[in-house]
Symmetry: C2
Subunit: 340 residues, 2 copies
């Protein structure tokens, strides 16, 4: 089969690879319909994380082609969506809705999802079958559910976005934009997108943003306060993961308000006294996408949401290297890879 291998920083190739096989009785093999490139794939691409001939990709939708003897919840022929973490969905942590911290957690796309086939561990807990085989037009949205939608949704839930709330969103990448969509679906009254890119502002408005703030840092915080009677937003979604964005999120939140943070924190350090006197609630981390998958799939299936719009470039798997370049150079928000 064909699949993406990152040989070293900046060196992405599509190569012939061995097809994955069932290793554990709880495994499933899927034939991917589509995959995509994640913002987090750019860390090794840019040399900021180690990489050495690594199979890439962790977002996936596709059709089950084989299951291990212990698999009960999905069967060959099912169209499935799964999360980037595999989870048993039965342990105490999973039952509390924190599948990314499952006591048996492991990478969801064990053999790399930017490829024709992939092995998915703990298939019963990890995969959710769609009501039937989807129309092709639904594929991008279902793929978004696998990571960026689920992550933006978790951020909005962690920030307690809801009726009567003003929600600010720090970060205008795919996750931030889908955090806006989630806040809208959760009933937020006002949604402030922090973005300085016209194309992303347009998508933010399409997803439900009512206001745009272009300023960042101190000026960004001041702009949010000016829009909220000097108090700050009730809910702030942090979808970047830098020191500046994290502090921007905390300081833009009113005392007693909620910060939902999902940007992977790189070199972030929070001063205890600043946090203490902020009076905010802080919750986040790797999003337990699995918790939300049934609900998100249904919303997509019923055409109530269209998160697939975050994919602004679609390329065949064979052109994955160009996809990485486009995201690295910020020519694309998020790249979908069509397969087969």
């Amino acid at each position: 089969m064909r699949g993406v291998i990152m040989h070293s920083a900046g060196d992405v190739r599509v190569e012939e690879r061995d097809e994955p096989t069932i290793l554990e009785p709880t495994d499933a093999i899927i034939r991917l319909s589509a995959s995509c490139i994640c913002g987090s794939d750019l860390w090794p691409y840019r040399g900021a994380e180690p990489v050495d001939h690594t199979p890439m990709g962790h977002e996936y939708v596709g059709v089950v082609t084989e299951v291990g003897d212990a698999v009960r919840n999905v069967k060959v022929g099912d169209f499935v969506v799964g999360s980037f973490f595999a989870s048993d969905n039965t342990c105490e942590i999973c039952r509390a809705g924190y599948q990314t911290h499952c006591v048996h957690r492991q990478p969801g796309a064990a053999t790399g999802a930017q490829s024709e086939y992939c092995r998915i561990p703990l298939a019963d807990g990890t995969l959710v079958a769609t009501p039937g085989h989807p129309d092709p037009e639904l594929i991008p949205s279902l793929l978004a559910a696998s990571d960026v939608l689920g992550t933006g949704w978790f951020a909005a839930v962690a920030a307690e976005a809801g009726p009567g709330k003003t929600v600010a969103v720090v970060g205008d990448g795919a996750v931030g934009l889908l955090g806006i969509l989630a806040a809208k679906e959760l009933g937020a009254e006002r949604i402030i997108a922090m973005s300085r890119h016209a194309d992303r502002q347009a998508l933010a408005r399409e997803f439900g943003a009512t206001d745009i703030v272009e300023e960042r840092g101190d000026a960004g915080v001041a702009a949010i306060k000016a829009l909220t009677n000097g108090l700050g937003a009730h809910s702030v979604i942090e979808a970047v993961g830098t020191q500046e964005s994290m502090m921007q999120a905390i300081r833009a939140t009113r005392p007693g308000g909620h910060v939902g943070y999902v940007g992977v924190s790189h070199d972030v350090s929070l001063d205890g006294l600043d946090l203490f006197f902020s009076g905010v609630h802080l919750h986040g981390g790797p999003a337990p996408v699995r918790r939300f998958l049934p609900e998100l799939i249904q919303l997509i299936w019923d055409r109530k949401i269209d998160p697939g719009k975050v994919f602004d470039l679609s390329l065949p798997l064979e052109e994955a290297a160009e996809g990485y370049r486009a995201m690295d150079e910020r020519r694309a928000i998020k790249v979908l890879l069509t397969i087969g």
Copy 2:
């Protein structure tokens, strides 16, 4: 009148002072029945915070002797309890339950509470009258409500202590001990006190602790995990405010669990990536004691709780200097000062 002045670090004197007077129409003057010495008073006492002939004390109960023209909710003769922060209790932040972040907040005991009389600003929002004049035996508990009980209660609420939950408490000072009492009242199933002092362990058990962990740091975290199927506690109260205690609290909490922190964070710095992958909820800061006062006063009035037990030394106001020494030398958990 007589009142405590801290001349400089370690130099506490009871001196003749001018009686406070109404400055704003929203002020009230109270004659104190009792006051106490706070753990936070030890910071300037030990030279860790600046102090220069400063009137001391911020915890108070007493009888209203005079009110400004605009005061409506309390009247001369009322027995009242208030918080260490004055708040209007009408702004949007107060209405959300965060009175310590009131848009008009200011010190509650404006002229110092370790004295015979004290001026209380924003009396309508700050003071809560008891159902009548209390029996003397209730005074210590009502005084505890003014700060340490309200703070421990907020920590337990922030940690989402409740039925079915295992709650761990880091810190065995007055606030930590009353966090145990709060967790018990809120219905927690299991309460683990982290303490290595026999007298405090005894009081912890009296307040509702079901387990004691004497270890700290890594060993303390391991002990909590051993008691919780390796998962960590659902809820952890942090009532110290050091780097070690904060990390102990975060690491002793299961993913998706809640840390309620009320120890004033001195030199604490949280690593973003550690926090991200912990998956915990973090909430705390200066406790909005005012939110809980009506409920806490009623519980005390009905003799359902006896938080006054945290006072293990009672001295007349004139002997305040000995009270400071006793707390500084850890001979007392918390010192009550009788007045008049």
